[in-house]
């Protein structure tokens, strides 16, 4: 049995696997299938200052080795999260990354401030959700905007701040450096890639929002590349994600430089995916005689 524990920004994770924000709600639906303490952490559903109703359906489209979504940040608002969902999660012996988003830097900061005095372990700031018409993509796609929102949220919270980056940029390493300078304690990447599908019988996009975020195995090589680039550009820890569906994928992303790994769309194919991935990582490490998963972080040797 290899040591799977990792430490990010002073927070101990019993293993590096975290269901990604948006696929896992606030955990209740999956607890029907497995105890949540089998997970390293949980990145909770993106939550905003006030309740959001989200986009009109269809919000989901299938794509080759992947899927598009445009849920539009439907959530009950941060007060509901703090009063109802967070207390539930805090009894589950799992690290809680409270994912927050907003339309303005001030709204993000207000939302982060609502988590002060709670037991949430970390804040994951979404500056990259491509679905929201105001803000969202705009923050994550320029160094100035990314730094500004990070700085304002940084000032509003004493908790470890993870900034979740958008891959829909020319140079993700520059964005990562900008948020690091602005006070981020870690970065997580990649969020979904902006995509579109059209129903050729009707001539209409499949998603009512027309465009949406691409996730699933199709984006995994992009995630590996971007995690590698960012991990080599910043000193803060990198949490990797994007199309991870097996223990081998998670190991690969950690070799590229990730200190922990989030699992998204794979949960829709196999609801036990995060638990299975933890087991598969352990099997790989045991087979290779590697005693700690920490020993593989960033170990890729370029040609």
């Amino acid at each position: 049995m290899a040591d799977l524990s990792v430490n990010i920004c002073g927070v101990d994770f019993k293993n590096p696997i975290i269901p990604a924000s948006g696929v896992f709600g606030y955990g209740r639906e999956y607890e029907e299938l497995f105890p949540l303490n089998k997970l390293g952490g949980i990145a909770t559903k993106g939550t905003t200052r006030h309740q959001r109703t989200g986009n009109i359906a269809p919000r989901i489209a299938e794509t080759p080795a992947g899927m598009l979504n445009s849920v539009g940040l439907q959530n009950p608002g941060i007060d509901h999260f703090v009063e109802v969902d967070l207390p539930y999660l805090m009894t589950k012996d799992v690290v809680v990354l409270a994912n927050i988003a907003g339309s303005t830097p001030e709204e993000c900061a207000e939302t982060a401030a609502k988590l002060e005095g709670t037991d949430a372990h970390m804040i994951e700031l979404n500056i990259s959700c491509p679905n929201v018409k105001q803000g969202g993509a705009a923050f994550g796609t320029s160094c100035e905007m990314a730094a500004e929102v990070t700085k304002i949220v940084r000032a509003a919270t004493t908790k470890p701040l993870v900034v979740k980056l958008s891959p829909n940029v020319t140079n993700i390493a520059e964005i990562a450096k900008a948020v690091e300078s602005a006070g981020a304690d870690a970065v997580s990447l990649i969020n979904t890639l902006l995509g579109m599908r059209i129903d050729i019988n009707t001539g209409r996009p499949i998603l009512h929002n027309n465009m949406g975020g691409l996730s699933g195995p199709a984006i995994f090589p992009v995630a590996v590349r971007m995690v590698y680039q960012v991990a080599n550009a910043v000193k803060i820890p990198v949490i990797g994600m994007g199309g991870v569906s097996s223990g081998k994928d998670a190991i690969e992303l950690m070799m590229a430089g990730a200190s922990a790994v989030q699992v998204g769309a794979a949960i829709f194919t196999d609801p036990y995916a995060p638990v299975r991935i933890v087991e598969e990582m352990n099997d790989f490490l045991d087979k290779k005689g590697i005693s700690s998963v920490r020993d593989i972080i960033g170990t890729v040797q370029l040609w």
Binding site: E29, L33, N55, A57, I60, F268, T269
Partner: protein, 256 residues
Amino acid sequence: MKYTQGKYLIIDKKAIGCEIYSFEISCPEVAAAAVPGQFVHIRIGSFVLRRPISICGIDKEKGTLRIVFEIRGEGTAEIAQLNKGDVVDMLAPLGHGFTVDESFKKVVLIGGGIGTPPMLPLAKAYGNKAVAISGFRNSSAVILQEDFKSAGAETILCTDDGSAGIHGFVTQPLAELAEKGGIDAVFACGPMGMLKGIASICKEKGIYCEISLEERMACGIGACLGCACRTKRNDEEYFAHVCKDGPVFNAEEVIL
């Protein structure tokens, strides 16, 4: 809601119509928990997303479920390749089902096309208190009529082109039954246009009505919020989710 995920044996497979298949699946723990109106979420080897398929039969004693589905795309075509003796990966039973109320004396069950299968477990539950109206494009698309009769239901068949049963839509016999009165509830599954027509007749006559909806879906258990459905409760509009709040909704709460 209690659901599990597992690989279950297909113990029987029949083609019951043009590109329509019936599977009988041995899954005792799923059958034990299942109620009429729920669905199973089937994994297909080469796709990221599972496919939701309505439950067409629940045999708690045998520990089996029956599903009937039509090939609609690449996913369902791949499910149709499975044979007796193969296993199928299901997350099930999922969703909020139809109301089964023993105090109801007469109910009308309405299925349109491939919306007909989920009405069959309800016909079994209501027996001879049920009138089952089914609508199809034409005579070659007709399915499950003998099954409804064996369940004890009175059957009324409609086709769009008149090649079998009544020439016309399911709303025609529903309106006649509603006019006669004595109906405690109407339950329906089928195309949106049909559901709208049914909901409006029921509203006009003051009959309680439940409809089963479909939507593109990812997790199937209410976590990802993908399968949104516009609903209204206490005059407040909100997006409910077909997989968990539905697929069966009170028709008055759905904004059709």
